[in-house]
Symmetry: C2
Subunit: 433 residues, 2 copies
């Protein structure tokens, strides 16, 4: 049995009961065995004893929406009109993505996320076997799903459906349970209703949740209404999507009635503030969603629309923009933003016992170097995490009690190789017909 | 004559003519002597030759509004209603600030700014001799001004006016010209009109610019109208503030006519997106200001309302929020945001030959470590700077050709002492009657 003691630390727990604990944390195998002020009995032995002074420990961050492989297109064609960016820069190049491109793009994102303190992430893309293998190797958690655009000929639709099912069957529960899966029709505006229904059916058969893009732009909401006579929320409800546990990404344009429908079906919302701002999609009604009791978490979306995968920045944006736009300085306080990035994230993807630091929880946690000017004075560490910290402050990362990043170095991945391959794949991709 | 060659580098220049240069930069004493593709003549000798591979060089960032000493109150009383925060947390503690508090709070901010790539900053506060001495020691540039609140008895008003004038006389042009000064009545809502007029008069006598807070909140705009029958812009114009070169901070709530008045008087606007969002002041009309031809730059405001002094974050916020709020993905593109943080910043505080990398410019520049996942692929370095970088990516900082930060270590300041003193002053301050 592996047993580690971290002593003398500051622990931000993301719980309501004891938000900040000063003292000791004991990790036994994959779980937190103890966290509190008490020093362990002198007779107790440990495999490792870590001095936690000058460090802040907190739960690993959970990124609940993204397309990791798209980091290969980071900064490619920024600052264009949305349709030009999509039609001329993203889609033609994504169509050329091979399994190898997805492999190295995903590893580039995993490297960035892991070193930046993200311990679990959602990925919706293609060539998902490559993504799953990358997650397995990295030691992170991944909630993975083959995103399927349904506007294509029936044989391609069927191929995608089978692929999505096969992937979910093959990988759900793999990598010591670190990989889970979902069923994902890409979005109501990219999938015919019967295609979506087939994914719902499969999710019932496989007992899996659903994940989809929803109401990201006003344009798609109005188109949905025009085409189906319903806004996206009612449309998806009618197609049975909410008969399964469901996580929707974006949910920027919502009416009060739609918020109530989401709440009633316990639909979880992945709020992607950075991406929504950059693509000029708008500002989601997060304070209203939270007030209604909808479970909200945070996602980076892809590095092509963000452009980094720094979850501290998403927490900060969530804490800042809703204050500025609503005029209410109490909107999304730091304590709430911290939960969106940690505990709520884990709950949003049905990870039990993940997302908080408390006895019995999974030992998914990170350490920050707080011996720096921007963490002083020691006034309020939750404020400092949300309003002042960044991915670059993370020094150590643990998942399931195993150390994946130590003093800023990733122990499970070959960083130099990944950086080299990512650049080479990008150059190759852009030059490829 | 000190002569340095940086070879093999990527140089983001913040100029329109050659936004990105790959090759070499030669620094002679305090100036850039050459930047371009050409290799120097083999017979040319240098005191230092630096290999610029894996680094990105860019102009130092210019922070055009802040109150450095207030970093002593970072995270103290966050997430409160504005008036509660001000009246119960900020003002009572600021009133207790001694010169020593200002000294160490300012040094804490300077340390953070300098290591994060800011090479020049505006500071409006009290005990300004301490601030000036800290700037002198650090090697940074400071555009410094004694901010005076005028709602006080006539003898105190007079004391503040004399102090402001004395400070400006004593320090303008000091520290090898790195320190310049301005005259600053704090804001129209905190100063009686005749008090403001006295500062304008002094600015004329001393041939100095004006700096003041303006139209930060809707409340103060409406109050101004109620009290003086004019909105703040016309009010300040009437008091002669714009008869001097002038930099205003915030300018969130503006009419079209006010924007035209600012343009007509060449008033410069320091946009403080992070602070405006956190304090729920609103979203400034930056795209409209830029379209009208007003010179806009970026400020962090104090660490108490931000909560870090990372100018990369301000560039990113400026690039993101105006897209999200306006619905226009072309609003404030990365190239524009970069200029707001560099060249425009320098022009806003009348620094000639600062803010760009070009032959003849002052050698105020910084290096970023771009051998990291979030700078890959090498698609568009300006995008990467604005949408992906952070203060923590800065490795080296030069002002006037002198290296102030090397491999992340500040060469001019005692970092351990500053961190220790800042924490001690904070604890002492909070406990003090």
């Amino acid at each position: 049995m592996a047993k580690t003691l971290i002593r003398n630390g500051v622990f931000v727990t993301a719980t309501d009961e004891a938000p900040i604990v000063r003292g000791n944390m004991i990790i036994e195998n994959d779980k937190i065995a103890y966290i509190g002020e008490q020093a362990p009995d002198p007779s107790e032995t440990f495999d490792d004893i870590v001095d936690g002074a000058r460090k802040l420990y907190m739960p690993g961050l959970v990124n609940t929406h993204g397309h990791a492989a798209m980091s290969l297109l980071r900064g490619y064609g920024d600052d264009l009109a949305l349709q030009v960016w999509l039609q001329e820069k993203m889609w033609p190049n994504e169509a050329k993505f091979t399994g190898e491109d997805v492999r190295w793009g995903t590893l580039l994102s995993i490297l960035e996320m892991l070193k930046g303190g993200t311990t679990a992430f959602v990925d919706m893309y293609d060539h998902m076997d490559e993504v799953a293998r990358a997650v397995e190797q990295s030691g992170m958690r991944g909630c993975l799903t083959r995103g399927a655009i349904g506007h294509c000929p029936p044989d391609v639709q069927e191929m995608k459906r089978r692929e999505a099912i096969q992937f979910a069957r093959d990988w759900h529960g793999q990598a010591d349970g670190r990989i889970t899966t979902m069923m994902s029709p890409h979005a109501p505006y990219t999938c015919p209703p019967d295609f979506i229904e087939k994914f719902v059916e499969a999710a019932h058969e496989l007992n899996l949740p659903m994940h989809t893009h929803m109401s990201e732009t006003l344009f798609e909401v109005l188109e949905n209404e025009k085409q189906y006579g319903l806004r996206p929320v009612d449309h998806l409800a009618k197609l049975g999507v909410f008969s399964r546990p469901c996580l929707v990404a974006h949910a920027v344009h919502l009416t009060d009635a739609e918020i109530e429908t989401l709440r009633a079906h316990d639909v979880r919302v992945s709020h992607n503030p950075g991406s929504n701002l950059k693509l000029a999609s708008g500002v989601a009604r997060v304070p209203d969603l939270l007030k209604a009791g909808v479970l909200v978490s945070l996602g980076t979306d892809s590095a092509a629309s963000n452009n980094n995968l720094d979850m501290f920045e998403e927490m900060r944006l969530a804490a800042l923009i809703h204050k500025g736009v609503s005029g209410d300085p109490l909107a999304v306080p730091a304590r709430e933003a911290l939960k969106l990035g940690t505990a709520n994230g884990a709950r949003s993807i049905w990870l039990d016992g993940v997302g908080t630091l408390e006895a019995g929880s999974k030992a998914d946690f990170i350490a920050l170097d707080i011996d720096q000017a921007h963490f002083l004075p020691k006034s309020d560490y939750i404020s400092h995490i949300v309003y002042s910290a960044s991915a670059k402050d993370v020094t150590d990362v643990f998942v399931d009690g195993k150390q994946l990043v130590k003093d800023g170095e990733c122990l499970t991945l070959d960083e130099e190789r990944i950086k080299y391959e990512a650049q080479a794949r990008f150059e190759n991709l852009i030059g490829r017909d």
